[in-house]
Symmetry: C2
Subunit: 300 residues, 2 copies
């Protein structure tokens, strides 16, 4: 490539750029929307029992149209001087007061009409923060932010086969609760396979209380979280500085929505954590060792 090379109008690159006028193509707004997860303890009545873990997501009640009164994922428009990552990190800081957390781009949603006002794409991100950071600064902003408990379960599943294609249809019920407030949605996941290609679609079948297509974004985040849990150290970003292995296992269990065997679990995550030597105390039963995330790699 040659910077001095001239185009069909006889312009060099520099000359071209100086004369360049952005054409009047229609442009979308791009928002960075955040699915911010954390896991909190739910206190138990029995002093001896361990607190149950709950997966929670941060939602903000809308104070204006459209979807006035509904709950939306925190998010904001991306500015020309920043990346979508930076817009997401900025939004995260504003809403929760935390920085330097796990942040991962999820997907860019672009369904026309997903925002009734104008053409808006959503570049969505997932953030994981540990519960000890949460309490400090949630609702720090003036707006009505709340940590909703997330429960997602498979409601029905069927497979439609024809000679040409095979479609697996799954319907998931998403339930979000926070105190009296209760939101719900049904997402249909259609996994289509033909001889040539294969594709997956997500549709919102029912939606009660969530703004825009945020039920879909949230569901997508849950799937990503669940998927990556198995082969990465993602879960450790949800843990506080010090934690017991049982707590870590509970986090896995609440996200994967199934019980795990203790021995196998401990073998599997053994090299993601390191011992601290200190122990819990006054728990009404045998103390358990505290671990921390092992972020130094094994290799030399």
């Amino acid at each position: 490539m040659d910077k001095e090379r001239r185009d069909k109008n006889g312009l060099s690159e520099e000359e071209f750029l100086q004369g360049y006028q952005a054409k009047d193509y229609e442009r979308p707004s791009v928002a960075a929307d955040m699915v911010i997860f954390t896991v909190t303890d739910e206190n138990e009545d029995n002093y001896r029992k361990l607190p149950e873990k709950e997966l929670r997501v941060l939602l903000i009640q809308r104070g204006g149209h459209p979807y006035l009164g509904a709950y939306a994922l925190p998010g904001g428009f991306v500015r020309p001087s920043e990346t979508t990552e930076k817009a997401a990190a900025r939004e995260l800081l504003e809403e929760t007061g935390v920085r330097d957390v796990y942040l991962e781009q999820l997907y860019t949603f672009s369904e026309p009409g997903r925002d009734p006002r104008t053409w808006v794409m959503s570049c969505s991100y997932m953030a994981l923060i540990d519960s000890t950071k949460v309490i400090l600064s949630a609702g720090d902003d003036a707006d009505n932010a709340a940590w909703f408990r997330v429960v997602c379960r498979l409601k029905e599943e069927k497979t439609v086969k024809s000679k040409e294609e095979q479609i697996r249809i799954q319907r998931y019920e998403l339930k979000l609760t926070h105190g009296e407030e209760s939101l719900s949605a049904v997402i249909e996941k259609r996994w289509k396979r033909t001889e040539r290609g294969s594709s997956t679609e997500y549709d919102i079948i029912e939606n009660d209380g969530l703004a825009f297509d945020h039920a879909r974004i949230l569901f997508y985040a849950l799937e990503r979280l669940r998927g990556k849990l198995e082969y990465t150290d993602l879960a450790l970003h949800l843990m506080p500085e010090l934690f017991t292995l049982t707590q870590l296992q509970q986090v896995y269990e609440v996200i994967l929505n199934k019980p795990l065997l203790k021995a196998a679990f401990r073998r599997k995550i053994a090299n993601l954590v390191e011992e601290t030597g200190s122990y819990t105390s006054s728990a009404g039963h045998r103390p358990s060792q505290l671990y921390r995330r092992r972020w130094e790699d094994i290799d030399g």
Copy 2:
């Protein structure tokens, strides 16, 4: 949520939307850029030997500024009436004449200044097509499209540790060749882990002949392809209707860039394919059975 509810200006949602004027926030253009992979045979001199496989990607030589003469990923701007997926599929059809192929959203790149003309985000997609479809319609368009051979290898690797953080730095050399034409780039992948978070960045260190930040997009696609190969049936989208298991293994090998053991490989992909009963012939050695992709699921 109540559609009839009125906001602080006393407007219902319908009234609000009717009066809504898109504010004069600056908006980005959004392009759907495609990394289209295929695997082709490279003919061998020896009549008995099997042809070697090569991973190839479609690039288009730019006929105007900026990056005049450089090669770019096929792509185009997203229109308000379509999703980014649809824009990608449209672009794919225009450039290669194929439809109904494997298509997957990769990542949305939004580095300010990645396009010297104006604010452009790239919502990138990866497509996999089989080589038998390629020859028919490549370069169908008037533009200068070519299938470049892709070779990507790790050049150097180091880990920088301090008390606070640990950074693993890898430099990959990307080489793209097509006839006389030869493009290259060096990508630095920085995987940073601290006690709190972890993040990965990709920087273009050197770039010879590729337009915009397309070297990074291409590298990102390669990583995704390699990663998903291990636990999905992605590779089968690169195969023609009928293929031998050795051919399939070669595709895995050329993408993963390492030899695989035959017996283990066959066990692993056994339930992704099905026998046809027909065999290759006149190959100068023992015939091998042809398989096809098994797209019917196993379950009832």
